[in-house]
Symmetry: C2
Subunit: 202 residues, 2 copies
């Protein structure tokens, strides 16, 4: 009789339990449709603890927000260190985001789906976050290096990442039914060379 097996491994720290419970609930039902009582119940923690650790519901959301923005930033940072050229970096970021959409669904959903200003007062607007700033600066590097076409960097950043972000949203909504990585190369192709069929008589 494997007695020791019944010992739960290492119990997760309490604030971590709260955050993961909150993330799941917020993504599933939306911030405003989730009560502290529900978070408390799912996290197996008392209300008092939630107030102790985060000061309330919005405090939980803020902590979550910061934490997840950090993760995103690290993702971009890693890619930048690993690949030399701006375009390779863009490619890698899109591939990573597609992977993450499948493996860390709720994190991605929290980043791309929610309108954070609705529940985080004094919201340092997602697109001003370190991760998104870095994505734009990659694009600027590419322009300066003569790799990308020379135009407004907001437009170009939107052109490069907009399609991917759109696909992520469609995937999260369940509209796209197959895992995103299957579509990665296709998407990258259109970003590189546009959407037109090569004219065979050209």
């Amino acid at each position: 009789m494997p007695y020791l097996k019944k010992c739960p491994p290492v119990p997760e720290p309490i604030d971590c339990r709260i955050l993961t419970a909150a993330l799941d609930l917020f993504v599933e039902n939306g911030f405003h449709n989730v009560s502290i009582h529900e978070v408390q119940k799912r996290a197996q923690v008392s209300i008092g603890s939630i107030y102790n650790h985060f000061g309330g519901k919005e405090g939980v959301a803020q902590a979550l927000y910061k934490h997840i923005l950090n993760e995103m930033d690290e993702l971009v940072e890693t890619v930048m260190a690993e690949f030399p050229t701006p375009w390779q970096q863009c490619e890698a970021i899109i591939r990573q985001l597609f992977e993450h959409t499948e493996t860390h669904r709720n994190i991605i959903a929290f980043v791309f789906h929610a309108k954070h200003t609705e529940f985080i007062s004094q919201d340092p607007l997602m697109c001003h976050s370190a991760a998104f700033s870095k994505m734009r600066s990659i694009v600027r590097n590419g322009i300066e290096a003569g790799e990308f076409v020379d135009m407004d960097s907001w437009v170009l950043t939107s052109s490069i990442f907009g399609g991917a972000i759109r696909m992520i949203q469609l995937r999260l909504d369940g509209v796209i039914e197959k895992p995103l990585p299957e579509y990665g190369e296709m998407l990258l192709q259109t970003i590189r060379t546009g959407v037109f069929q090569e004219r065979s008589d050209a």
Copy 2:
């Protein structure tokens, strides 16, 4: 003394007043941060009337949702009637959306910014709406006609419209500071021919 001027022209019908007030408030503060009392106050209508006409706050949101999806559908419909080729239709839709973002800001914001499932139960998911379906079918037409590259239509639709949608969101968030139509041609260029600089030595 121009006495007649003081007569308000034709008073707007009551349900219209409610909808426009609600639209503005929902976009500004988010559905859950707006109380019926605020809508009532801004629309200069009593709470009873709101319940009579729409059955409650969610009813107002649903009516708004339907109405606005209709407008979007008409926009796409008109473009399809006016332009012959799929690509011209795509171009025109993007230009129209950019225009609308400036002239009907809150309508566009309601369409692209909100996560409707959070406040509309049984939400016929935006991307399944007539307008979005038609956009995708335009893309399919382009593929069949050999105009667009032959690939999954979700990917291609995202490639074509994703950048525009992204720019609309950035504009609504105040990140992009100039009116979108200024960027229209730039964006269309990258969709057509990709993001790379033409190599002068090619």
